[in-house]
């Protein structure tokens, strides 16, 4: 009797009994086999010269790691990815927030404007990439044509062919496609702002800017965190437009971390080297994410 009682005491919850843990096993197995196991394999392959096809590979120690730093590919990819991420985060949030504030006022055809702003997000990255390749095309492209129309030399407009501009040009495409989603999240945040607080602000003599800066923004600080984090993630995993629009070029000016990994693994068939690259990227992304979380949480409190 005593033993039985003790056992019953061990069951803290009557709803989630111990035997319920058995039902976690399938999900846990999927997680282990499809996520943890490949991740561990990544670390394993990073010290080999595996080419993705021939399993008769050798162990090369940390040579893969030293090579990716020696030849500058890692530094170049990190630099490009960070620039891309910063452009995406800043522009997406400024444009998204600006439009959300504008479309949260009482204006006519609000629904149509909101739909239009969200429209680019509905297209796949491949379609958007192809369309923008033609928009950016020198001489016959849309922007070049417009420049010609206004008497400027459109043939000189060649953003994707420029070593200094190409990265920004593809980041703008990412912003164009993504700002609608950012805007929708901001709109949702803005609609949670209590009207009575705005009313109180107005009675205290606040103008619209002061209302936005000192009432609305602090109240949607968690929305800002979500949007910034989502855009940082989108920026760090940048691949689509480098692949579709520039193929990493001109030179290596638009090679991002993900593009470089793809090229090493599937074009150069250096699966081992690509694994080493992924391991380093893994830590770089963790550092950035942790930093962002700390920074954003602190900002939320300050706001």
């Amino acid at each position: 009797m005593e033993k039985k009682r003790k056992k019953k005491k061990g069951n803290i919850s009557l709803v989630f009994t111990n035997r319920m843990y058995v039902f976690l096993i399938p999900a846990l197995l999927f997680f282990l086999i499809l996520w943890i196991y490949p991740l561990l394999q990544l670390f394993y392959y990073s010290i080999t010269d595996f080419n993705g096809i021939n399993y008769d590979f050798d162990y090369v120690g940390f040579e893969n790691f030293s090579r990716i730093f020696e030849n500058g590919s890692m530094v170049n990819a990190i630099k490009n990815t960070l620039i891309y991420a910063v452009v995406v985060v800043v522009l997406s949030n400024l444009i998204g927030l600006g439009i959300a504030i504008a479309l949260n006022t009482r204006i006519h055809f609000k629904g149509i404007f909101r739909t239009c702003a969200y429209f680019p997000a509905l297209f796949s990255a491949i379609v958007v990439g192809f369309i923008w390749s033609y928009v950016y095309m020198p001489t016959n492209g849309m922007i070049a044509g417009l420049l010609d129309m206004f008497g400027m030399d459109g043939s000189k407009f060649n953003p994707l062919g420029s070593f200094t501009v190409a990265l920004f040009a593809i980041a703008i495409v990412e912003v164009w496609k993504g700002f609608g989603t950012t805007m929708i999240i901001y709109l949702a945040g803005l609609q949670t702002v209590d009207e009575s607080l705005l009313e109180a602000g107005r009675i205290d003599g606040c103008n619209e800017w002061q209302l936005t800066r000192f009432v609305k923004l602090p109240l949607i600080s968690s929305t800002i965190t979500i949007n910034v984090i989502l855009n940082v993630i989108a920026g760090l995993k940048a691949f689509d437009y480098s692949f579709i629009m520039t193929n990493g070029g001109p030179g290596s000016s638009t090679r991002t971390l993900m593009f470089q990994i793809y090229q090493m693994a599937f074009t150069d068939q250096q699966m081992g080297r690509a694994s080493a690259f992924s391991v380093v990227s893994f830590f770089v992304i963790i550092v950035i994410t942790v930093f962002m979380l700390f920074f954003m949480n602190k900002r939320e409190v300050e706001l």
């Binding site: 197995l29 080419n51 994707l160 074009t267």
Partner: protein
């Protein structure tokens, strides 16, 4: 209650075992596949004696209406052998490479796969043969029809069955040439430069290239390399592997890169434009009459022969001429079909391939009718679409004045370094020809 517990635990255990078995299948299948790889005369009645069988095949590309591989071929095979069902999967290039790798490592590769000659690409026949994935095809009767199969022969075993060649050359607008008073195709490098200058002086853009897709840089560079490097040393690439030659050797690749760069420096190819447009946009620009020439391959002939804004102007095709006038062509064996060494139907697949590539069968005729290959033997090979464009190249090849495309002999990735650095050179990033050859050499050694 206890029984239920036991059953549920067993189910979970079985699931885990199934999944783990799926993950670990690669190793054991690989060993069995290498055992299956044997040579010797095959059973020419294998299909007839096989009963009802299904042969699987996987190729790369995009299926079109009435597609040869996915529609016509299975039907013709069924007509010839009612007991055979041919199941063909066609995947876009990148998907094909990744699917092929995963199917090979899981031991579930289709019986017939598309492979590239030598070391070209992720489905390179040398790489796959080295891993023991390809069955030897030495006993195919088709091999007797081909003059040089070295690009698909690994360790004395023919591993890819191909009948076609792929060519690199310069497509040109004959009407534009005639307008500028150019009546003949250039025979030397200097004549080629003179023609470019004449076209430019007459207000035409001499050459359009889609350098945004950097691989197109290979089209010009490989042709020049045939003339200036391989013509003098046919074993250059083999010697690269043994260390007897280097990309940095004076008068070899530095010369090739300098010659090609000359076209950019003189504005015959406008780098400020070409780096911003892709391969398909360059083709469009050529057929729209915005440029007199474009350097491209025979595989793009249908697109380059199509009518654009400039209408149906007459087009020609010539190899980039050598400095000396003794021109060679970058013409190589095109992609072909290999048999997976772990296949249950190796002899059946061989019988099928021998029938397909016999130079007269219905399948052969339908294969040629696609216009995608330039056949070097068999009935109707001269009926290939646009054959008049390609005939001079095939003649040069038959004279022994043709070399493989360089990337086929290099470890995959060397050419991307070459393209990346050459892009920097023409984009004015301060990269020199010596920097490029040095980078190519470093990369080559790294990839070896």
């Amino acid at each position: 209650m206890k029984a239920k517990k036991v059953v549920s635990m067993l189910c979970v255990g079985a699931m885990a075992a199934t999944m783990l078995a799926g993950c670990g299948g690669g190793g054991s299948d690989k060993s069995s596949s290498s055992e299956a790889a044997s040579s010797g005369p095959y059973d020419e009645q294998a299909i007839e004696n096989a009963g009802d069988i299904t042969i699987t095949m996987m190729v790369s590309g995009v299926a079109t209406e009435n597609d040869f591989e996915t529609e016509v071929l299975p039907e013709l095979v069924k007509e010839k052998w009612p007991n055979v069902t041919l199941e063909v999967t066609k995947l876009p290039d990148d998907n094909y490479y990744t699917t092929l790798k995963s199917r090979l490592s899981s031991g579930e590769c289709p019986d017939i796969i598309l492979t590239q000659p030598m070391y070209a690409g992720a489905n390179a026949c040398y790489t796959l043969a080295d891993a023991g994935y390809l069955a030897p095809l030495n006993d195919l009767k088709w091999a007797e029809k081909m003059s040089d199969l070295s690009a698909v022969t690994y360790d004395d075993n023919i591993v890819t069955c191909t009948a076609g060649v792929s060519i690199l050359g310069v497509y040109y607008n004959k009407d534009m040439f005639a307008e500028c008073g150019i009546t003949e195709e250039p025979k030397t490098w200097d004549e080629f430069l003179d023609d470019c200058a004449t076209l430019k002086d007459n207000g035409y853009q001499p050459i359009v290239m889609g350098d945004k897709d950097m691989y197109v840089m290979q089209f010009g560079l490989y042709q020049i390399a045939c003339n200036e490097v391989y013509a003098e040393n046919p074993d250059y690439d083999d010697q690269l592997r043994t260390g007897d030659t280097h990309f940095t050797d004076e008068g070899t690749w530095d010369k090739v890169l300098e010659m090609y760069d000359e076209l950019y420096e003189n504005g015959y190819i406008d780098a400020s434009q070409s780096l911003g447009i892709g391969a398909s946009q360059a083709i469009q620009s050529f057929i729209d009459g915005n440029a007199a020439m474009t350097i491209d391959g025979s595989f793009n002939a249908p697109a380059l022969m199509a009518e654009g804004a400039a209408g149906a102007f007459e087009r020609g095709y010539f190899p980039i001429p050598a400095e000396s006038g003794d021109t060679y062509t970058a013409t190589c064996l095109s992609a072909g079909y290999s048999i997976y060494s772990g296949s249950k139907y190796i002899d059946e697949c061989k019988e099928l391939l021998d029938y397909w590539f016999d130079g007269e069968s219905d399948i052969w005729q339908a294969y040629l009718a696609t216009g995608k290959i330039i056949a070097t033997y068999g009935e109707g090979s001269d009926q290939t679409a646009n054959y008049e464009l390609f005939a001079p190249f095939v003649d040069l090849m038959n004279e022994g004045k043709a070399f493989h495309w360089c990337n086929q002999a290099w470890p995959s990735g060397t050419e991307t370094t070459m393209e990346e650095k050459f892009g920097e050179l023409i984009g004015g990033q301060g990269t020199t020809v010596q920097d490029i050859t040095q980078e190519m050499q470093t990369r080559f050694e790294d990839l070896m």
